[in-house]
Symmetry: C2
Subunit: 312 residues, 2 copies
């Protein structure tokens, strides 16, 4: 369930283009109009607007907006108007720059279905002339590399068949490795990177049944370390993507310092998909409106834009 | 260029089915008729025959032939009448049983283009309800596992762009690792499993230019070891698939003991693709006809069938 409220009936792409052009001309930019239009059009409509804008004014709308807007608002708008698949490829590429954001790579690999991930990988190759796999491989190192490259590489089986005896034996393998704190054991990496989501879910359930404690809990014992943290993110993405995003949203909105990149990513990527569900879970959990929480962290047109995407 | 000689005009699928049915009835099987028909039909025609046979006799032709034929002839015929994509999935699965045949897994990963490999992986999942990746991972171990899982997983970039400075720096990385005999160094695995074929080709050329000796030669020094052997197979598959198959054919046909599985695989999988090129290279190299060489190694209907597929 999406939060984006698409205008009904929406004006034509030509009408939208004319208003956007007007909003970008002269001194300053009429940012309110930009938000009023673009935050209320779905992906297909945005794509038509970009095409029609290009035809009318021989100018790329994305580039024009990049030069008109600034800061977090510009970044959020840039991500929003990209085609959703291309946006995922772009976000994955950004996550590999300078300070590696492995959380984003895990989301790319696990929130998507097998075929959705494939489409993102094709878009990545089209845009960057390299594979996502080689970029993940050359921007990471050590055990984390083995895990992340495996995650984005595998064309995972998406069927619902589960092999229960396999789930049991692999739950034992995981438990033995975790007990010895050998989180990055080859067998752990093999299981996490190659098994289907349904099979992994069964393995995690078996783990809890047999040991009386969840695998996530076992992984969180001890000093913070990126490798078991990455495994825990994977588990959350597999077990419940909605809960995963709700928890992430909560952690972002309750930090002293705002993490705009993560906040933008959640709102922009989920707004047309399932943000309504995530928002409801969030509001029930914190007993406050998401709009209120965003309002405390973000400001200006950035805030207005996020609120519009979140359905306010 | 294929070697298979398709009958022109070919009889209808119904006529073929009737003759095949007759060949399978009564005492003994008329194997000559089976070869005369099936070795001279292309993949689409074979598929139509199977469909029409099923409709006419409510019987699966593959299963019927399995019960009528035996030994290497049966195995070769079974592989031949499978749909080519399904055949590759089947052969890869066979290669993972009991004694691992990593050469076959490398062929699957490197002889195919990126999108061909994807189609084989989809067929694998459809047939076995698991991914090729997880089966490779759970039937291998150690460094070879890292290499093989990486090879079959990556959705490799298939474009022709080459980054020359990257080729140079990665040629150095490979050279340093090989010099220290650290064949399975993480960086070696990263480069072989993630880079595009064109990029790898450039890297191998740079390696030779800078060191005066080819990477293959450097890898072959020292005692035989599966890991550097696997790397050399990869290099040959990338640099020239035709030369690779010619050399493999030569080694099979000049052994004291025949390796039927490999011989069958080469003839059956290449007959409709490029066996004519491989055969010409072979005959020029050994100065004898391929038919003659096959005749010395194989016998009976197995020999007749291979010869028919090889264009004799």
């Amino acid at each position: 369930m999406a939060t984006v409220r698409v205008s009904l009936p929406a004006p034509s792409a030509v009408e939208d283009s004319e208003l956007l052009r007007k909003a970008c001309q002269g001194w300053g930019t009429d940012e309110k109009t930009v938000i009023d239009i673009l935050a209320h059009r779905d992906a297909a409509q945005r794509s038509q607007i970009m095409q029609s804008y290009e035809e009318l004014y021989h100018e790329n709308l994305i580039k024009r907006l990049e030069s008109e807007l600034s800061g977090d608002f510009e970044k959020a708008m840039y991500r929003w108007i990209l085609d959703p698949i291309e946006r995922e490829a772009f976000i994955a590429n950004e996550a590999l720059k300078e300070e590696l954001n492995y959380r984003v790579i895990i989301e790319t690999a696990y929130i998507n279905s097998t075929d959705e991930l494939l489409v993102v990988k094709k878009a990545y190759q089209h845009r960057f002339k390299r594979s996502l796999e080689e970029d993940v491989a050359s921007n990471t190192s050590g055990d984390l590399r083995k895990l992340l490259v495996g995650l984005v590489s595998t064309y995972r089986y998406d069927g619902e068949e589960v092999d229960n005896s396999l789930a049991s034996s692999e739950a034992n393998i995981l438990h033995d490795a975790i007990k010895k704190r050998e989180f990055s054991h080859d067998e752990v990496i093999r299981i996490f990177t190659t098994r289907s989501k349904c099979q992994l879910n069964a393995t995690f359930n078996r783990y809890k049944d047999e040991n009386g404690v969840s695998i996530s809990k076992d992984l969180s014992a001890g000093a913070p370390d990126p490798f078991p943290s990455a495994l825990r993110i994977i588990i959350r993405c597999i077990v419940s993507p909605h809960k995963y995003f709700e928890k992430l949203l909560r952690s972002v909105l309750n930090k002293a310092e705002i993490d705009e990149d993560t906040l933008t990513r959640i709102i922009v990527t989920r707004a047309e998909k399932d943000l309504k569900i995530v928002k409801d879970m969030y509001e029930e959990r914190v007993n406050a409106s998401l709009a209120n929480s965003i309002g405390k962290q973000a400001s200006g047109k950035y805030k207005d834009f996020l609120l519009a995407l979140a359905g306010n």
